[in-house]
């Protein structure tokens, strides 16, 4: 008995209460967990990833890492072209990229910034395997053993790796001695070996790339001469002596011969400018600016489009919102004041459009509004419009506004109706009995109480219309399309997902800023979706 009392007072009681509350909270969390998880997995994470693409630019440094490093010290103002070392690094990078079929992907990326680059990568992708052939041939002429894949494995591989079971070898490993004595060769060979090991032929039957021979020649002729140490074999010593007498080839010339574009300063400047792993270039493009080697500039006037589209999207969304208020308010007022039988019937009529496909509704507007359409025919028949001067109401901004107002109207009427339903009719009667005119009673008494409904409806309509895509695409022509149509184009057609993500991010930020402004001016507490 005494023990129970102890448990009931002070700490013990508090902690037991806490435990009970914690259990309740946990239960509540478990209840919403499925939805939370669903939203995280299907919404927050994918959108976060998509938005991240707007700054991500790792493709350049991932695909051509050596080139990016070498190119950092190049200054276009002193040398029109990067030196041979850059081109050699580039040939090595390209060799790996071509084998992995990644070079054209990089070409498409850089082509967004400088038209014409993608074909340079595509063309030279075919030729890069031949670069270094002059050197390779001389090694093989010196001693045919250089042609044998086995020679290279023995020279460069880790002894433990060689000793492993040939049928079940782990990933290729270089020996430490090779790495220190022949760093360039090891570097290129390691990539070759990794790819060759995965190929159907296998490493044991693949002759190294010409660029491996080229790198060996670089190592052997380097100053100071390499300390071959334990690697020194008659074969290698012979090659080391002969290497300085080899006929050399210019990789730079080989690239320019393969495709003239590689001799273009602007191309290398583009690669240099877009080397960093993160970039602002997509955001700059999204606001009609360009990142150039000389800093940020405005895009060519005839290519400026995005700012214009953002403004148009905002202005047209506001117009649609305004039209929805004007058309929806009286309807909602009538719904709220009719006897409930008739009100329910009208409510069904308001909801009816939701039962029809969006595409059908939009296409129906096309039939109604086009120049040879129902409305024009009617106007011509009445004689209001001349037959050769029919109104243009579709394939322009007018068409978009009409069709979207119709589609979004229920989103305005419903919150308005549910708010108006809660305003007691006796208030209006009281105002009038106190001497107010109809207008004063409405404007001073009724309208202020319906403002929360207008707020809710406006937010719904505005946010829905700002991201609308399909209706403007069908009826918008050229002057009625929204920024969302360009986002869709970049996602599905041009594949410039970085730019699409930047445009999407900007749109999201603009909506959030407007929402914030609305909260400051009207107050989000004043928004009501119902009683």
């Amino acid at each position: 008995m005494a023990e129970q009392m102890m448990a009931a007072d002070g700490r013990t009681l508090k902690s037991s209460l806490n435990r009970a509350l914690r259990r309740q909270k946990l239960r509540a969390l478990l209840l919403i967990a499925p939805l939370l998880l669903f939203i995280m997995v299907t919404f927050v994470i994918p959108i976060g990833q998509m938005l991240f693409r707007s700054v991500e630019n790792q493709i350049v440094s991932d695909t051509i890492p050596r080139t990016v490093q070498e190119l950092a010290s190049w200054d276009a103002r002193t040398d029109p072209l990067p030196d041979e070392a850059v081109f050699i690094s580039f040939a090595k990078d390209m060799m790996t990229a071509v084998e992995e079929r990644r070079h054209t992907r990089l070409g498409s990326r850089l082509n967004y910034e400088n038209a014409g680059i993608s074909s340079q990568f595509r063309r030279s992708g075919r030729d890069v395997a031949d670069m270094g052939e002059v050197i390779a041939d001389q090694f093989i002429a010196l001693n045919p053993a250089w042609e044998e894949p086995e020679t290279w494995v023995t020279l460069l591989a880790d002894p433990d790796w060689i000793a492993a079971d040939p049928d079940d070898r782990p990933a290729f490993e270089l020996s430490d001695t090779a790495r220190t004595a022949l760093p360039r060769t090891s570097d290129v060979y390691a990539e070759f070996a990794r790819l060759a090991q995965d190929s159907p032929r296998g490493l044991a039957r693949s002759q190294p790339w010409n660029m491996v021979y080229f790198a060996l020649h670089e190592d052997l002729t380097a100053t100071p001469a390499p300390d071959l140490g334990t690697l020194a074999s008659p074969l290698l010593t012979e090659a080391a002596t002969a290497a300085s007498g080899f006929e050399t080839e210019s990789i730079r010339d080989a690239f320019i011969a393969s495709s003239r574009g590689w001799g273009d300063t602007a191309l290398w400047q583009t690669i240099q400018t877009y080397s960093p792993p993160y970039t602002a270039s997509y955001f700059l493009t999204a606001v009609d600016l360009r990142q150039t080697p000389d800093g940020i500039e405005r895009a060519a006037e005839n290519q400026q489009i995005y700012v214009r589209l953002f403004i148009r999207t905002l202005v047209m969304s506001l117009t649609i919102m305004g039209a929805c208020i004007l058309l929806g308010y009286p309807v909602a007022w009538m719904l709220a004041n009719l006897p409930s039988r008739q009100a329910n019937l009208m409510l069904i009529l308001v909801l009816l459009p939701f039962w029809t496909s969006l595409l059908v509704r939009t296409s129906a507007w096309k039939v109604l509004l086009q120049q040879q359409g129902v409305i024009n025919d009617l106007l011509v028949w009445i004689g209001l419009v001349a037959d050769d001067n029919r109104l243009t109401m579709i394939n322009n901004a007018t068409g978009t506004i009409i069709a979207m107002t119709h589609i979004l109207l229920p989103f305005m009427i419903l919150p308005l109706y549910s708010v108006m339903k809660t305003i007691p009719p006796s208030y209006l009667r009281a105002a009038k009995s106190l001497g107010a005119t109809n207008w004063t009673a409405f404007w001073r008494v009724y309208f202020p109480q319906s403002v929360p409904g207008i707020g809710a409806g406006s937010i719904l309509v505005f946010i829905l219309s700002i991201g609308y895509y399909i209706t403007p695409e069908i009826v918008g022509g050229t002057s009625g399309i929204f920024i969302s149509n360009r986002i869709a184009y970049h996602i599905s057609s041009s594949l410039n997902w970085g730019l699409a993500a930047a445009l999407g991010t900007i749109l999201l930020v603009v909506v959030m800023a407007l929402y914030w402004a609305y909260d400051r001016i009207v107050g989000i507490d004043n928004v009501k979706l119902g009683g």
């Binding site: 079929r101 992907r105 005839n302 589209l309 086009q370 041009s494 594949l495």
Partner: protein, 370 residues
């Protein structure tokens, strides 16, 4: 016995490098195409006969070709490839190949030779524009005009430049909302020779010229994004002249009797064909290769032409093209490749567009928005 051995050896060679001989084949295939009459022609000409010969196989059509490139990229990133064979236009094949999303193939190894033994690469010839692309048909983007326009006073458009001649041929045009084709036509009508079009378009002055020419008809043009819109505008009389794909015009004129007439001058050839998505598991790849070998042989491509007026991609199929499957009319006169229609055809430069598409599209859209 000897013959069987020889045949086995050839088959083994055929599949060598891509898949092992006598490989287990998957029995499910998802084939992606464009829907509509075109997909129906593929279904009738190759898929149904193939299924009849292989009763165990189940095949689904997925009508996602218009967004194939984006979808394949998304599948690649998600690591979940659900498509087995995808029908795309040449430019998309080129991009998919560039992105490493389409498999590079050895055409002679995986495709049937012509009946006379001509290897596939020679039979398809120049139409193999990419190592990933297996051509099926040649189509063209071309123009048509209404035959009942009173304001033309009996004149009929004779060449492509009628598009830009608002005085003789007043009325609304309908053109595709993209720079491709339109810029070429604009330059051709501004006096640039066919072979100089792309060199001219590469310069800023050339682009200015093309846009200036398009400016002359900008206010009287409806820009379409799906080919059906264009046909609809012409059929409704919203537009009096405009571009679309020749197969769409064929069905509007011949099958639906619309008052339209083809304007073949400066039709722009384009190609459509298959790509195999990169990274298919071996059993699915084996099934796709088996189907592809059948579906791209000389007879099958000729059969397809009985359902739609697109030219078979194989030279050896052309003589086998006969009559429309339902209407019984000769198909040859409706083919874009028919000599009467092809007198002044323009060949699009896909590689050039792969480079300049982003740039010119930005300019084109900005021009439209002004």
């Amino acid at each position: 016995m000897k013959l069987t051995k020889a045949m086995m050896a050839t088959t083994a060679l055929t599949l060598a490098g891509t898949t092992a001989f006598a490989q287990e084949m998957a029995n499910d295939m998802t084939i992606v195409s464009w829907g509509g009459a075109y997909q129906a022609s593929q279904d009738n000409a190759y898929l149904q006969p193939y299924l009849a010969a292989n009763p165990d196989v189940r095949a689904n059509w997925d009508e996602s070709s218009p967004e194939a490139v984006a979808r394949l990229r998304a599948m690649d990133e998600a690591g979940n490839l659900t498509w087995d064979l995808v029908d795309v236009v040449a430019a998309d094949a080129l991009r998919l190949c560039d992105e490493g999303l389409a498999m590079e193939v050895d055409h002679d190894a995986i495709l049937a030779a012509a009946p006379d033994g001509t290897p596939a690469t020679e039979d398809f010839g120049d139409l193999i524009i990419s190592d990933c692309f297996i051509p099926q048909i040649a189509y063209s983007t071309t123009n048509a005009y209404r035959t009942d326009v009173a304001a033309w006073n009996g004149e009929t458009p004779g060449d492509i430049c009628a598009l830009f001649d608002l005085e003789t041929f007043p009325g609304t045009r309908t053109l595709q909302r993209q720079p491709i084709d339109n810029l070429e036509w604009a330059l051709i009508c501004d006096g640039v020779a066919f072979e100089d079009v792309y060199d001219t378009l590469e310069t800023t002055e050339g682009q200015d010229r093309a846009f200036a020419k398009l400016d002359t008809i900008k206010d009287s043009t409806i820009w379409w994004t799906s080919a059906a819109e264009s046909i609809q505008s012409l059929a409704d009389g919203e537009a009096v002249m405009g571009s679309s794909y020749n197969g769409r015009f064929f069905s509007a004129i011949v099958e639906q009797n619309q008052p339209l007439e083809m304007l073949w001058d400066a039709q722009v050839y384009d190609l459509d064909g298959w790509i195999i998505p990169a990274g298919l598991p071996e059993d699915r790849l084996a099934r796709v290769l088996d189907f592809l070998f059948f579906a791209t042989d000389t007879q099958r491509l000729a059969d397809q032409a009985a359902y739609i007026s697109y030219g078979p991609a194989r030279a050896s199929s052309a003589p086998l093209v006969s009559t429309h499957a339902e209407l019984g009319i000769e198909m040859a006169p409706h083919m874009p490749t028919n000599p009467d229609n092809a007198t002044n055809a323009f060949v699009q430069n896909y590689l050039w567009w792969a480079d300049y598409r982003d740039d010119l599209d930005a300019r084109f859209q900005a021009w439209l928005a002004q």
